[in-house]
Symmetry: C2
Subunit: 484 residues, 2 copies
């Protein structure tokens, strides 16, 4: 230990990078030492090696004899401490600049970090004017503040952690489905369906074209997809387990902290279903599997959120993972709401839709863990929801998953696979011609099937405790805002 | 062998499904035997077991004593042969219908298949009228024919193979990038950039809104993305290796066999690049890695294409994988074209863009394997391409990958990371204000970087030998066509 410190002092006081004590000449004279990622440097295996790292300066502390900097390259939340003789300082060196550092990786004498890099050369690759740069050294900026700088916020600890978590969660979604025999289908973004008949569609045309006429690009009015469900249903006539994962759109004039005009959705469709449990099982497994994977691979990144963004949220999350998700029917949910002493803004009569205030109450009522609500009133659900034929109540085999802090995370249903029932419902809606291809799916080898969609950003909000949905997507799009 | 045959005969001649020789009573009386996917049935481990399979009938042959059917469930190209006593026939049973079959899995006496299912119960789940169903038993329909029925073509062998290959190739793309330290970024679909300044954009608005005015949904004109590059460049200021994989759009008024209005693109961006080789290395590795994974996991599906769709294409593909991809400069390419005896429709003068006919010739000239063409004329490339500063020729550090049968598969470049050069070029184009955020990326910790995009559908065409791009995407969108 003593020897090490002396060696370091010797090294750092010297300016000419040749043949210092404790370093072999051969290593020392290598022109281009091994390029290492910061996360690899922390693995310890390279201690004593001459290495090269590239990244951005996250902290900078020039002292009388030595410079101390932390270099981050996005490979993890951790930055590598670099120590250099004060003479290596450069007027361009500072917070936010890009550097390449060559030197020797050493075990650190400090308990805060296992390794540090003794610099033999620091090259400033790209400077960063600290006056103009919106993020300041040593300051912890709020998520709201950094959101103003969409093109730069990935350079903060918080948002780089979010991006690593998002990438890992995406990989975990694909792994879950692959390991469970699901086929990935790329459902289209542009579609001539308006799926749920909602008014919240975006229409698409080349500029200058008149919409919805024969002279338009596609000859028919086309929209941005609100769901890949109907396209997945096409595939569920040949593959019993399919899923899709991509952007979906709502022209919702809302600035809410739970809504975006463009958001990512995970959707799955399962054939040969026997009951709604075939769906809730997959939803719950998916939630657990992805969350466990994120916790295993992005521990530090998740901790950042649970420490600084949503203190105490880790306990909530652990609770969600420990307990199995309760299932209540819509009718039971209405009973719970009616029996409660809470005053609600919206009515809680059987037949009314559950609003966010109701959803939040139900989640709390069930112990602040995710809860499934099943069998909604038939008249509240779109044409494709399967009729439970349970008059006089008359419900459809639909299910929502409500989660703490967010409300509705997933929505799903069994689909009406019976040709006669589907045809008469489409007839009532005046949609029989529009959806003749959809009726075909029931005419040729129809099977009982169902599926669900999960809002990916809401999922991230739920596990991280992030209040605003704009802080869990790289480039948020919402009414009056489409930056970059 | 003899005994087995006798047992089968005994079994099949009996109509009552109880206590036949060779089958234990306990197994036999199980109400709901293990549900098995067809691909699992072929694994042999379940031979002798009472099982249950669900799927669609791909062939149906009623004989005097027995029925023979093949049931497919999409888990692989293979269908499971089911043998049942003739008395189990059902007027609804036939080609295309959905069935559940319970029975005993046996080693097959025929060499054509390792196992077969001796049915004890066949339940028709969904009928399929053979007159109305557009696909006919025992007929091999062309890709062009099945393309007329987008909602049903997944029920053919060819298109179900394509979907398995597409799903596997997607997984392999993600694996390649994950294994090589790339972070996945979800770049946006809706953007206010028009990226390359091309006129081939789709504009987006809620129906009934006037475009491009202050009253519009986003307050600014917005478009469907033509590339995630600029958004990836944002991220490459904190993460040296990022990628995206999603839909991109061109309002190209083309019915060509290589163009779609909506197609999938894989894009990557790499920081701290030293030369264009940092890009070509990743492109070539990606191509090999994904192709090897597809060949390893979808052998039968790929064989179907190489046997029936593009006979002889396997040799071409093997050649591509065996040889390393040559690299020529644009200037060398022009020399090759000028020296050739071929007559081209378009000019081959230095400064002219390479057209499909030129690209095809160059690929042939280089031995019908993929070839990189680098260092294109500066004036042909968009503002972000890095200036080689090699006057008087004046080229940019751009690269295309040309492949057999398709032409351009990838396009990439080093990006202009030098603030002064980029600013003056943007100034010349009158874009300095529009891209002030892009200039910021160079003002704060800029690093040399570059990237590329790969057309995913063209990649599939290239490895499978599929002539028309509409046959490698589930729901093709092109001018005057947006079905479903």
């Amino acid at each position: 230990m003593m020897f090490q410190t002396v060696t370091r002092a010797l090294l750092l006081s010297s300016m000419t990078p040749v043949c210092r004590s404790g370093v072999t000449v051969r290593r020392y004279c290598m022109k281009n030492p091994t390029k290492l990622r910061v996360s690899e440097a922390f693995l310890d295996a390279q201690v004593g090696e001459n290495v090269r790292i590239q990244g951005w300066v996250r902290s900078f502390r020039p002292q009388k004899q030595n410079l101390f900097l932390h270099v981050n390259d996005g490979s993890s939340l951790k930055s590598l401490q670099v120590i250099a003789p004060a003479g290596m300082n450069d007027p361009l060196l500072g917070f936010g600049c890009a550097v390449e550092v060559k030197g020797i990786l050493k075990k650190s004498p400090h308990s805060k970090q296992p390794v540090e890099l003794e610099a033999e050369q620091i090259r400033v690759i790209g400077e960063c004017n600290p006056v103009d740069f919106p993020f300041k050294i040593k300051e912890r900026h709020s998520l709201e503040y950094i959101r103003q700088f969409l093109h730069l916020r990935c350079r903060t600890n918080a948002f780089s952690s979010l991006l690593r978590i998002r990438s890992e969660a995406t990989a975990a979604v694909h792994s879950y489905f692959k390991n469970n025999g699901f086929l990935l289908i790329h459902t289209p973004t542009i579609t001539s369906n308006d799926c749920e008949g909602a008014g919240e569609l975006f229409q698409v045309e080349p500029p200058g074209t008149t919409f919805a006429n024969e002279g338009s690009f596609f000859s028919v009015p086309v929209y941005l997809t609100v769901s890949g469900q109907l396209h997945l249903e096409v595939m569920s006539g040949a593959f019993p387990r399919v899923y899709t994962f991509g952007p979906t759109f709502r022209a919702e004039n809302s600035q809410s902290r739970r809504h975006l005009a463009e958001f990512f959705m995970v959707e799955a469709e399962i054939s040969f279903t026997e009951s709604i449990e075939d769906l809730t099982k997959v939803m719950e497994e998916l939630f657990r599997s992805v969350t466990e994977s994120v916790l295993a691979h992005c521990e530090e990144d998740v901790d950042l959120f649970h420490k600084y963004v949503a203190p105490g949220h880790r306990d909530t999350l652990d609770d969600m993972l420990r307990k199995s998700f309760p299932v209540i029917t819509y009718t039971e949910a209405i009973d719970i709401l009616k029996r409660s002493s809470e005053t609600f803004t919206f009515p809680t009569d059987w037949g009314c839709d559950l609003m966010t205030e109701h959803e939040k109450f139900l989640v709390k009522h069930c112990g602040n863990i995710p809860v499934f609500v099943t069998d909604y009133p038939y008249d509240l659900k779109p044409f494709y929801a399967r009729d439970n034929q349970d008059h006089p109540k008359h419900t459809a085999a639909a299910v929502d998953l409500l989660v703490p802090g967010v409300g509705e995370l997933c929505g799903g249903s069994l689909r009406e696979e019976r040709l006669d029932l589907l045809r008469s419902r489409l007839g009532e809606c005046g949609l029989e011609d529009t959806y003749s291809w959809y009726l075909d799916l029931r005419r040729f080898g129809s099977v009982p099937h169902g599926g669900f969609g999960l809002g990916f950003e809401r999922y991230l909000q739920c596990i991280l405790g992030v209040d605003n949905i704009k802080d869990v997507i790289p480039f948020p799009r919402f009414s009056h805002s489409c930056l970059l």
